[in-house]
Amino acid sequence: MDRLSLEVETGAICAFLGPNGAGKSTTVKMLTGLLKPTSGEAVVAGLNVASEPLAVKRIIGVLPENLGLFDALTVEEHLYLSGPIYGLSRGETRARTDQLLRALALENGRTTFIEHCSYGMRKKTALAMALLHNPRVLFLDEPFEGIDPVTSKTLRGLLTTVAARGVTVFLTSHILTIVERLATQIVMIRDGRAVWNSRPDELPKSLEDVYFDLVEPPIEEDLPWLGCSLS
């Protein structure tokens, strides 16, 4: 990252956009304490990530890039493990687990070991872990990639609802159509630098057009052996 300066208001849904390798996941890692910035500081809900790491970790829910799951546990056991660590009682953990697994359509696979789950199931398990303890801030790294349309719709509704009651959502995504409908703040980065930061209604044209103009132009290439031309 290169002198990235960014502020997200409480209750906002901030979409952090950029091409592969631009630094989106690195930013999420620095904001969630997975990576130490070489300079500068990260503050989440008024807490400094470097000096108060445990306090920050208690109030955030994270869907990390590599999902953060254990092969030796089943889907439901991930939630049973997570709840008590965040201070939930066993009864409360079980009740919330049941509800989340139903909401994310994971009910049928709840006793499946993670190593035997599909990518979509693993992603939904990690999403459930991020939501279980009702965090004040959600960091979601590409939450819509690899999940089915029904869960995607459920998740969009869920994020809108929690944001309305004050939960801040910071997400990265490549699916611009979803971002356009969901986000209340849009930040675009290129080569580690922010090149756009505004509300969606402040975009001069469609999100896709702004993205192509500022971040990454579409590729133009002839592939005659495939009988097609990209332009």
């Binding site: 969630t32 304490g33 997975l34 445990l54 306090a55 970790k57 208690r58 994270v62 990390p64 590599n66 999902l67 953060g68 799951l69 254990f70 092969d71 030796a72 546990l73 089943t74 056991e77 049973y80 493990l81 997570s82 008590p84 660590i85 965040y86 201070g87 006793t111 499946t112 070991f113 035997h116």
Partner: protein, 328 residues
Amino acid sequence: MTYRDLQKLGSLAGNNFFLFVFLLLGQSGGFLQVLLGLLLLFPFSSDPLRSIPSERLQQWPLTPRIAFALRLASVWFSPVAWITVGLIVWTKSFQFAATFVGISALFYALGSLFTWVPARAPRLNILSHVPDFGGSIGGLVRKNARELLSILDPYAGLVLTLSATAYRFLSSRPEPDAFMILSMLVALTLSTYALCLFGLDTASGFTRYLLFPIRGWQILLAKDVAFLTVLLILVAPLHLLAGLAAGLMALTVGHHSSVRYRVPQTHWRFTGGAPLTSGLLQAFLMFSAGTLVARTNAWVLLPCVALFAASLWYFGRDMDQAGLRSDA
């Protein structure tokens, strides 16, 4: 036979129990030789079809019968199997070699069951019955106990425990000191794992450790509780206190290399690749503490607990300050 298969022998390098058996080979009876043969054989006795991505395997025209035959035959693709059998015929007898083949076939069948059955019938996965240990880190302890039970070290310990228990009941005058020594030997079978407590954790798992709002010592303690629980179950029929003292020493030394040098391990193999100097120090302290506790009284456990607690605190703080060494 591929170069990759040959590399599997590396899993035995740096395994405390393997080195111990190897050193005693000249003076040992047949039992330890069979054990060494099994230790050598196991790195090759994995399911050969597991190393092929499942998506690719589904496209191959393998009938279930051919796949089963491949799995059964895989252990005998290994030249180590033939060399071991040849050595046993040369140094012992043909009958002894036949016994070895029988025992290794049994072990192999069990190993195949542990890997093949859970994927198809999750309810039959015995590891799924490991309970939650309660408390805020009880779920982590359960995960760690399952990981520990998915390597071969505790099963080598189980063979020793069962043999010793049979000796206790079948011998007319069992040697009293034998159980103290066997208890520490069982601890030795697990001790290499104590040097690589994070060896079975993936990058994904490391990320989760770093995201949880818990301190380094708690992550380490969850590993230790799983280790001590399995160890105490194994040494309960032998000499519980000597085993406990040895286990505490194994962990006290093991925290250092576990936290500072991550040595990746493979499921259903023996733990290996741990630093030799740490292994030697570990073995010395384990046998000293175990013998002292057994020969004097249980109060000797107190300094063992104190050393363990100091190591837990120090290396837990180390994890908090530097993070876990991982590629997360």
